[in-house]
Amino acid sequence: MNKEELGFDTINLGHGSGGLMTRDLLDKIIFKTFSNPFLDQKHDGSIVKFNGPTAISTDSFVVSPVFFKGGNIGSLAVHGTVNDVAMCGAIPKYLTLAFIVEEGLKIEDFIAIVASIKEAADKCGVQIITGDTKVVERGKGDKIFINTTGFGEVNPKANISTDNIKVGDKIIVNGFVAQHGMAIMSQREGLEFESTIESDSTNLNFLVNDLIDAFGDKIHLFRDPTRGGIASVLSEISKDINKGITIHEDKIPLEKQVAAACEILGLDPLYVANEGLFIAIIDSEIADAVLEQMIKDEKGINSACIGEITEVHPSKVVMHSSVGGKRIISPLIGEQLPRIC
């Protein structure tokens, strides 16, 4: 689909009116792109059937810039929610898709975002089953916001809960930290710097499900450390379980360029957002086998065991620095801000 066939250049308030212009936009772009038996009903909603326990997760996406190295708001909206469902130990099946578009969005940008949603959804094995499109006046949004809700069938072998975490459990990550946040930061107005850093935005559902199939209830928790980075997620977990967490600075996978960019901007990579990363807390006896399996997967090549659950310092995360010191890792407060010097 291109803008000549559509007959309009930008999305305007009329496209959110619910009238003919809305129908036109839906028919020519949305229904055409995502066609499936659920959506083809063109009903107000869809009726789906699940076998057993179902995981549901919702997320809204407001990233700026909308297009960034390694993805765009569309692929991010699919990966983000698919990953949240996967972290529950479920196999994502369906997504809802709601847009809030600021009038004036170029139609080619909208088409590119929709195409990227389709591509990501196909890769994840999920179908878009219902959705919504609203248009707001210029200045009342920021180009485009997307909300997705995901539904997945819980893998019968999964038993994911903070209640299962015990002292001695190992903490694994599947790759480099801080990639997404630094890719976005490098393209923000006023902070741009030249780099080839790409967002890590990707779907983790197959890797996670393979691990559940292989190791079942020995896997105690999955979490994806998006906003707030691994520091904030680990801090939350240690508080929830009232046990200590120790991590080792020299074990945390950090790509050189990202490390350099963090140095320049004065950011701590532990607090920078990720979109293709998960933390697994697992029984220590399977740690080696889990790592061995993960590094065979392209989304886990750089997996590493970064720490463990401890009896000491309950409710606190302590990092052993590479020079032998220790420091508390506290949760992120407010937005991470570049330092002056």
């Binding site: 420091r327 801000l337 570049p338 002056i340 010097c341």
Partner: protein, 362 residues
């Protein structure tokens, strides 16, 4: 990363820590001047690795911490009157007398967070119908880039660009600390980045007058451990000279090109330091030739007496008289979500560094 990983090396850090242990015979108080060094000491857990006889005292070198309340209020007032305010990131959460820049942004102000002041000139160029003000805070380190923005604006003939200057200088602050009746500092770790710009000749008279060792020091674990060792060694040997630990970045004469840019645009003048008070000849003001770029003159600034929160002991923290955990409000009423004073905001502020990295470690 070349010149980085080797300065985060465990063995090299340990080597200097052992040397400190071997050399030291009595208790010494050493002040690291720069907030970046405080951050490095706390973040890498070096404070705990030092022998008890070394007491590190945290200095005033956190630029946003010493920016006067009046100027923050002025920036907020400008923001609320339709001026585009451009600022470095860690300034925006510092509390003014009623709110922070970030809160004023939430109420509708056009606040831009920048990494370089040159970007602010670009914003002024792209918004000719708006006034654009860069909040030029910082020590000597940020002065060259801030000065350069003024030179660029002048060259382009931009009439809608000005800077709200709050530049402060390190040597007068060190002298003010040494003149304080409560001062108990035996040696200084000089601020590495400041000296990378300015060199370290200005410290010779200080070391001589106050008989105090000054070791220009970097920010990585090996730098800090080595700098402390050099200071301890001087103290134990009864010396008081200026030494340069950070020789990979600092030359005696500094960065001559950067100093020239500063001298074109700024001259030394009196400055108020938040928490410390006015120190004569302790900062930069725009020279008469560049007064047109002075936001204070352009928009007028009213020096109303603003009151600090009476429970905040930021002044004593910044002068090295007290440590953050000696404050009754620390970690309780005052925390990074609800800072009573500026040192709890910036990651270079001593209170925030203590809160984030070492608060109740075990």
């Amino acid at each position: 990363m070349k010149y980085l990983t080797e300065y985060r090396n465990l063995e090299a850090t340990k080597k200097y820590l052992k040397l400190i242990d071997k050399t030291i015979t009595k208790k010494w108080n050493i002040m690291e001047v720069c907030g970046g060094q405080t951050h490095g000491l706390v973040k890498n857990g070096i404070l705990e690795l030092l022998p008890d006889k070394v007491q590190m005292i945290h200095g005033p070198g956190c630029p946003v911490c010493v920016t006067p309340l009046n100027l923050i209020d002025k920036a907020i007032e400008l923001l609320e009157n339709g001026v585009i305010i451009c600022s470095f990131g860690d300034m925006i959460r510092v509390p003014g007398s009623t709110k922070s820049l970030l809160e004023a942004k939430a109420e509708g102000g056009d606040l831009r967070i920048l990494y370089s002041p040159i970007e602010a000139v670009k914003i002024a160029r792209n918004n000719p119908d708006k006034e654009v003000v860069f909040f030029a805070v910082g020590f000597e380190t940020t002065a060259p880039a801030n000065a350069l923005s003024v030179l660029h604006a002048q060259k382009e003939g931009l009439k809608n660009y000005s800077i709200l200057v709050s530049h402060v200088l390190v040597p007068p602050a060190m002298e003010a600390i040494l003149d304080d009746e409560f001062c108990n500092i035996d040696a200084f770790l000089g601020a590495g980045h400041v000296c990378a710009i300015m060199g370290y000749k200005a410290y010779y008279p200080l070391a001589e007058k106050y008989k105090i060792p000054i070791v220009i020091t970097g920010f990585e674990p090996v730098d800090l451990a080595q700098g402390i060792y050099m200071a301890v060694k001087q103290l134990e040997e009864g010396l008081h000279v200026v030494e340069n630990q950070y020789s990979r970045a600092v030359k005696e004469e500094g960065n001559v090109a950067a100093i020239n840019v500063i001298n074109q645009v700024f001259e030394v003048g009196n400055r108020e330091w938040r928490g410390i008070g006015e120190i004569p000849n302790s900062g930069y003001v725009l020279t008469p030739e560049f007064k047109a770029f002075d936001a204070e003159l352009k928009f007028g600034i009213s020096y109303i007496k603003v009151l600090e929160n009476p429970d905040c002991i930021a002044g004593e923290i910044l002068r090295g008289i007290k440590k953050p955990n000696e404050c009754s409000q620390f970690g309780k009423v005052c925390n990074p979500s609800n800072p009573l004073g500026a040192p709890m905001v910036s990651s270079e502020g001593a209170c925030a560094a203590y809160y984030h990295f070492s608060n109740n470690l075990e």
